[in-house]
């Protein structure tokens, strides 16, 4: 496979969840438009993050990429191969290449299984016999993520949140996947533990050449770990750019507002900072506003925003900086 070609290509991905009607037949008349035409690509070895507020469709996107959900339409290509229409029976080989880290280390590990069984599960399910035996492979994985190999026979409840997240990470690494999708991997952890896990994820990436798709809402963590960042709002990507471009020169008003709202641990900033106050709440994804979906909360909205949907296009000098806005910010 050509190394320059992107590892993951997502094109016009759509996922609508039908909502049952109230009538006798409960016909689905409406749909939650969770993901509505999302396109992006992820290069080998990079960390691509998707940020946005709850309900914007970032977790659904993660589940579509890993094929835990089947898309309504659109394509997902991994290494050039379309995986979006694979029937369920043929998904198992895919799981070798794509693995997922979950948010909650308490519910993502089976409490009745030992750590050895949990981390060794991928070997068992995929019928892989690693060199030196499964037990040794599991113990090597445990030390790779900073746990002791002696933890093999213990149960999840004996571990703290951060250690459990390490167990989950060891499990995702078992089959040497090409792509790891991490859905809020550190948001359930305490600050001091969060930093340990973030460092671990970065070390593993350097060591094993992993590619990450990270879903997160903490903009400080995202800035720390990402190479490129996409911002989603109501099922659409509103801006994609290299990390520094996005954080220093946000073009979409929503990105700018979100960045200005992040609290900073420094009292001197209290007075200096200009904060953009957004009005109101995110509209319902069942009936998203016409035109630009952000126009109901945007202070720059004009008539064109209410009627015409802005395309996601290159804006500004930085290559690969795309934004979907009729009146992009200029800085």
């Amino acid at each position: 496979m050509n190394d320059a070609a992107p590892l993951l290509e997502v094109e016009d991905l759509v996922k609508h969840f039908p909502v049952k009607g109230r009538g006798l037949l409960q016909r689905a008349t409406q749909a939650v438009q969770a993901v509505d035409g999302v396109s992006f690509s992820v290069r080998r070895g990079e960390t691509f993050s998707i940020v946005g507020e709850s309900g914007c469709g970032k977790s659904t996107t993660a589940r579509l990429v890993t094929r835990l959900l089947a898309p309504t339409s659109g394509t997902v290509r991994l290494d050039g191969k379309d995986i979006s229409t694979l029937p369920e029976r043929q998904l198992r080989p895919l799981r070798r290449d794509v693995q997922m880290i979950f948010q909650d280390p308490y519910s993502s590990l089976n409490p009745r299984h030992t750590v050895g069984k949990i981390v060794g599960a991928p070997f068992r399910l995929q019928d892989v016999e690693p060199e030196g035996g499964r037990k040794r492979a599991v113990q090597e994985l445990l030390s790779l993520v900073g746990l002791s190999p002696e933890h093999y026979n213990r149960y999840p409840h004996e571990f703290s949140g951060g250690q459990r997240q390490r167990i989950g990470i060891a499990r995702t690494l078992a089959l040497k996947p090409k792509l790891i999708v991490a859905d809020e991997p550190v948001s359930a952890l305490d600050v001091s533990i969060q930093a340990q896990v973030v460092n671990l994820l970065e070390d593993l990436q350097d060591e094993l050449g992993l590619t990450y798709v990270m879903i997160a809402h903490d903009l400080s963590v995202v800035r720390h770990v990402s190479d490129r960042v996409a911002v989603m709002y109501l099922g659409k990507i509103v801006e994609v750019a290299d990390r520094d471009d996005l954080y220093e020169h946000p073009r979409h008003p929503y990105t700018a507002a979100m960045l200005s709202a992040v609290p900073v641990p420094d009292t001197r900033r209290r007075t200096e900072r200009e904060r953009i106050r957004l009005q109101g709440d995110v509209p319902s994804p069942i009936d998203p506003p016409p035109g630009c979906r952000f126009h109901t909360r945007c202070w720059k909205a004009t008539e064109v925003c209410r009627t015409e949907e802005p395309p996601l296009v290159q804006i500004g000098p930085a290559p690969g900086h795309l934004a979907a806005c009729h009146h992009p910010e200029e800085k």
Partner: protein, 355 residues
């Protein structure tokens, strides 16, 4: 209708801090041993001021707030020390007395408004109920007051929304409704326990602005409990950093962010990716994990994770528990390192690492 219900004359008799907590201990007996959730905590908040209590999960910050509100049952919690609200002692006070104060003089905002509000009653009903318990007014007047409160916290078309159920509100609106409920009796002490943790960042900014504006208007004492140093930097005048049920550091926000002196505070700052500074290569986490509250380490509870305990002569970090002593200007630090040496370490070793 005015929001400021006239306070009774005896309410303003007391002078000094509105909330004064001294040597508070909250212990729970369990089969595995005594959990010392809060173990000798003291702080005070004056009217018009905001105190931030910061700590990680299990540091005792929420247990403290529940103790102040009188929400621990005497069956399993052993509470000692003193909690004075407006000069009135709450530890050991009869349940009725505490109940009368709760809502009237002190109110609480919880983290998760979906579970803190009753799903079966309308938002308006719940505010009316709280208001009428403490004020002898007609249903009609109470309803008008509820609409007024919803309007004040920024709920659009409050006249219609007052009859909506909690599930019909978005997360941010529910949090606003809960703030309206908490403020309905014009309490002088407001405790906010992780008020924005469940909210998105743009909504969080709205709620923090709201709390700040309301405090200015009502001139209340506010205690904000959070794990997010960013949130306290936005709101708090004074900050208490808690670790394993005790105070690690206590000072003004300027002291704490300008020149933090406890190794744990340094560790927290190093663990956070800084949004306001150029990105760094690596985060600098604190090693290890927070201790179990059944088996708190001897001496300084932080010593197994502390980078600097080797610089303290002898084995004091392992044998003596440090008290939060004044390090100048009311900045209290519970650490065996001498103040001058801590200042030196901060200036020479920690601050450059964080920049």
């Amino acid at each position: 209708m005015s929001l400021m219900t006239p306070t009774s004359p005896e309410a303003s008799r007391h002078t000094g801090p509105y909330l004064q907590v001294e040597d508070l201990r909250v212990h729970f007996e369990t089969d595995d041993g005594t959990v010392k959730s809060v173990d000798g905590l003291s702080f005070a908040v004056e009217k018009g001021k905001t105190l931030g209590i910061v700590g990680e999960s299990g540091s005792g910050k929420s247990v403290t707030s529940m103790a102040v509100m009188g929400l621990h049952t005497s069956k399993n919690a052993r509470i000692s020390g003193s909690i004075k609200v407006d000069g009135q002692e709450l530890v050991g006070a009869p349940i009725d007395v505490v109940r009368r104060l709760r809502g009237q003089k002190m109110a609480m905002i919880f983290q998760d408004p979906l579970s803190a509000m009753h799903p079966y009653y309308t938002v308006g009903n719940q505010i009316v109920e709280a208001y009428r318990i403490h004020n002898d007014v007609s249903k009609k007047a109470a309803r008008a007051h509820a609409i007024d409160m919803l309007d004040r916290v920024g709920i659009p078309s409050p006249r219609d929304r007052v009859d909506a159920y909690p599930h019909q509100f978005s997360g941010g609106m529910r949090q606003r409704a809960m703030i309206a409920m908490a403020l309905s009796c014009d309490p002088s002490l407001l405790i906010a326990d992780e008020p924005t943790t469940a909210l998105d960042v743009t909504v969080q900014a709205q709620i923090l602005d709201l709390i700040r504006d309301l405090q200015r208007e009502f001139h209340s004492a506010v205690v904000i409990i959070t794990h997010d140093l960013g949130v306290v930097a936005e709101l708090a005048d004074d900050i208490v950093v808690m670790y394993a049920g005790r105070k690690a550091e206590h000072g003004s926000a300027e002291q704490l962010f300008g020149e933090p002196q406890h190794p744990y505070a340094w560790g927290l700052l190093g663990s956070m990716p800084r949004f306001d500074r150029p990105p760094t290569e690596r985060l600098l986490p604190i090693k290890g994990t927070p201790p179990s509250l059944i088996n708190v380490p001897e001496g300084c509870a932080f010593n197994p994770r502390c980078e600097f305990s080797s610089r303290v002569p002898g084995e004091r970090c392992v044998t003596d528990r440090p008290e939060a002593l004044d390090a100048g200007g009311g900045h209290r630090v519970a650490c065996h390192l001498p103040t001058a040496q801590r200042r030196q370490i901060w200036a020479d070793e920690i601050a450059p690492r964080l920049a």
